[in-house]
Symmetry: D2
Subunit: 314 residues, 4 copies
């Protein structure tokens, strides 16, 4: 096992490359910031394709990562010895300092997932570390999906010694119960004027974000629902998980449907709409908002004019 600080130059590439072994990665680049690997702000996102039987070798780093499963079958992630199987719509984290490896079982199907990382910021802060696990693939020391079984009860946590690590012990958030929660909440509450029915994925031991630097949300727009515009510090990457619609971002309309990815830069005014009058739409998103809050830099503001809606050019 080796572990050291990477030099500043090309650190991002150094970090990315071990992740790419045996995988096809498309990093989503911001046309306005070519060469930085940043898709918005300092956020990295990429689409990865993995075929049955392929896997990435076990490693850890100080940057935090998350994954949202787009499609596939038989994928898995192992985090600190906890193995989780992954299906479309599942959200999984590999926090700062945890050992992790990924793959697709031999009897699975080609899987596509979206990665999100804070590595560009962590590199900029000269605070990244990288280590290779002594084994190519971690041994799984626990029953599969044990973290979901133990930490996934509603309003329940294991009694006794409290979880004190700075990230969620749940690791995986399954699509089934997540979508069910959105649908139930949509019946019970009006939600937010700016975000409709939006749930934050949280660390159940604290109620706070899943990791210190990156957070993630899932939101449902009811059939025909249109939100009002607001803006806030922090950069956001959205992925459409269900349905279709459009967002107006900084005065420009962007249409989206399932598996489309779009971004909202820090302080850009934005509002969302479900284009269907019959089906609900669901947006997954991740952001560096937890970093903004931790540094005392979070700020938000509603659009005062135009009934809360941005004007589009003719």
């Amino acid at each position: 096992m080796r572990e050291d600080v990477r030099p500043l130059v090309n650190k991002a590439l150094d970090l990315v490359s071990p992740e790419k072994a045996g995988r096809r990665v498309i990093a989503l680049e911001n046309p306005g910031r070519k060469g930085t690997s940043a898709c918005v702000g300092w956020l990295y996102t990429g689409l990865q394709v993995m075929k049955p039987g392929e896997s990435a070798s076990a490693h850890s780093h100080a940057s935090s990562a998350l994954r949202f499963i787009i499609e596939g079958k038989g994928a898995y992630t192992v985090v600190d010895g906890h193995k989780m199987d992954l299906a479309a719509g599942d959200f999984v984290i590999t926090p700062n300092g945890t050992w992790h490896d990924h793959g697709v079982e031999a009897d699975g199907a080609t899987t596509v997932w979206q990665d999100g990382l804070d590595m560009l910021l962590v590199n900029q802060l000269d605070a990244n570390f990288y280590a290779v696990h002594p084994d190519r693939v971690q041994k799984s020391n626990y029953p599969i999906n044990d973290t979901v079984q133990v930490f996934g009860g509603p309003g329940l946590l294991p009694a006794g010694e409290a979880w004190s690590k700075p990230y969620s012990p749940l690791f995986k958030y399954e699509w089934g119960r997540t979508y069910e929660t959105l649908v139930n909440a949509a019946k019970a509450t009006d939600g937010s004027p700016y975000d409709a029915i939006m749930m934050q994925y949280v660390n159940p031991a604290t109620g706070g974000p899943v990791m210190k630097t990156l957070g993630a949300n899932i939101q449902l727009l009811r059939a025909g629902e249109r939100t009002k515009a607001h803006r806030h510090t922090g950069s956001v990457v959205y992925t459409c998980a269900k349905g279709s619609g459009y967002s107006i971002i900084a005065g420009k309309r962007y249409d989206w449907s399932k598996s489309d990815i779009f971004v909202v830069p820090s302080w850009a005014m934005h509002e969302h709409a479900n284009a269907s009058e019959r089906e609900d739409a669901v947006l997954f998103s991740f952001s560096d908002v937890p970093s903004m809050v931790a540094l005392g830099l979070y700020r938000e503001e509603a659009l005062a004019d135009g009934g809360g809606h941005q004007k589009l050019p003719h």
Copy 2:
């Protein structure tokens, strides 16, 4: 609405009486501390029977209360305008300062629930307040069970403004998902040597106890399972929710089966056993352990001798 401090003498009785309207209450008294209304330490517990169509009038107090439903149909509690229906095994809280009223719908069945309160301690601290709601029955301003729909998702919380009141926004913990969580966790983890598979009911916004003064746990003993002995500060009231077994408390054996109630005093050595080799057993419990932790007085200790088991007299 009136609101004032009660005189110290008979404050407990003052407080209890408004709760008794239209109900049959049996307070469980500690034979060693007659006349105090305390069943163990400063904890009050009582069994209440309510018939279809009966209800208790809306009020609030600075003491915190909780309820565990023993049996019945059509019961409900309203907390600060949020109405919840209650079935056997459900756990519900009515925290310090919240308006609450209870009843059984006219088409329900006679319901028995167990109350737990910290009022004896709060009275002793000269810190109780009592107020009567202007309406006999609170208007329900939200869809029924809305708090469960909004705050009951696994690892999910509404995004936006965080819940900041000093108690759980979930209010109700339903038996179905609670028992399912215990069964799942029993497959995924060994649990605690002293408490088997024990989950704490938590405030999902903090991961802490449901209220500042009172906490509650639910624990599953697998078929044939027997725990080791330990002791801790804080008094505990147990109710058997499923199955049967026995506990050895301060060197004496107490057998229990469904709906039995027993107590473990502060610092008494205790261990539990499931008497069945086929069925799991479930114990609900509530305690003042959160008060002990808040005051820096929590302490625990395992039994070192006898292989971790207490000796019983011949």
Copy 3:
């Protein structure tokens, strides 16, 4: 060294007695609650006289204690091996679980101090523990008054590992700088309408109270100053440290001058006045307000009528 839980009956007496060795103690008893050792609420306070060369043997307990020095010379307290010399007006804590012993040096003068303890509450909660130190007098492992030198800088704390114990690392608060702070603050701020220039003795590592169960304040009433009335939960014991004046408590006037002790029960309306037009007056006080806050039971209220002043009977 022995350490165990005392039986509930007479636990207070058990606890008090080891403290009395070689000392003369007068416990201040509430005439309305004889036999309880409580002077107000669950607070214990006593005056202790110690002659030169006398000392109390080293011990620890789960209850928390504090001392305010009334008069004398050459007194000292040792807390977990940190020895502090004590002069009139100094405030010192001996927190839950710390080893402590006290005495007066052979070349000192007869010393009177006031003790404050939470032991009655801790006993009521069945959470007290008592242990005798293997040595009659603790060895002092640090330079005298080291905690004041290290933790007593204004807005400064030792860098590196943060202090994490649940009480103040400062242990001693010296009269000189405390009074100087009051005098300076009186020039710079109006203070509180209810408490004039009141400072809380804090744990500098958190800004919170010095201990989890007990807190202490020091307040200055400027020449001729009279506060408005308010009330709050929590019981308070006051000692006049300088000057003279009077307090109106629950509608009755109590005059006080240097070294007088008086109490304000929970939720009793109270206001203070400096009787002198030339000299400032200073009141030391300790209370269980931190316990009220920790348990979510703190509440306060200003007197709305009579211009904020209570009416006295003719």
Copy 4:
């Protein structure tokens, strides 16, 4: 008053320029990162000279700033209406979002101070905001130095409503008591093997750093003292406030004496020595370590080899 988000390009320059009005500023540039205004990591530091009667106009920004006074007489800073006079060795903060202006009184002397800002990071995060105060110079609404009088007592805080803003209410840390604290602590404790007698300037209301993004320390090296080497994430800017000595940073020796400024980059091994056998030496430093801690990226490591000292090339 105007307030908006600056475009990303040249945002740093935009921000700096209003600060420069009427002042002479020398930004300390990192020769290895020309054109960035960063002297180490993302930290900005500059030396400013202001003549008697000069002042900078009142403004606020989301980036946090601090000042260490090198020399002069009659300087002042006003923060949110609190005016403070400043002498050599004083440390003052102008936190995120506060109105602030600076100047030198007409009867003062030319003043040199060192600025430290996090603006480069805040700009990089697209989270900066800038506003001009309606008045060129803020009215001072409080007695001069009132925050020091009110919040500067050792182990004392105003009772009542707690300070809840995310920065220190003390604003100014005076050299006199700061140096006195170092001298006292040097007699009472060995201090840290890596940092000798090092105190963190803290927010007295929390015990945490003075601001969310930037922290500051002051450390004393006793006559002849030499520390061992360690390294940590976070960038540090040091200023010699007294005496002389040298530091070995990443294997290279840098000598310093009063008013010299030097830096230690993130994760660079470093150790310090006082070159005098008779006089103590004092180093002021500020850093982004609080940002590292807030983001979960703080890590430190002692040098294991060479008796804890780095080898210098011959």
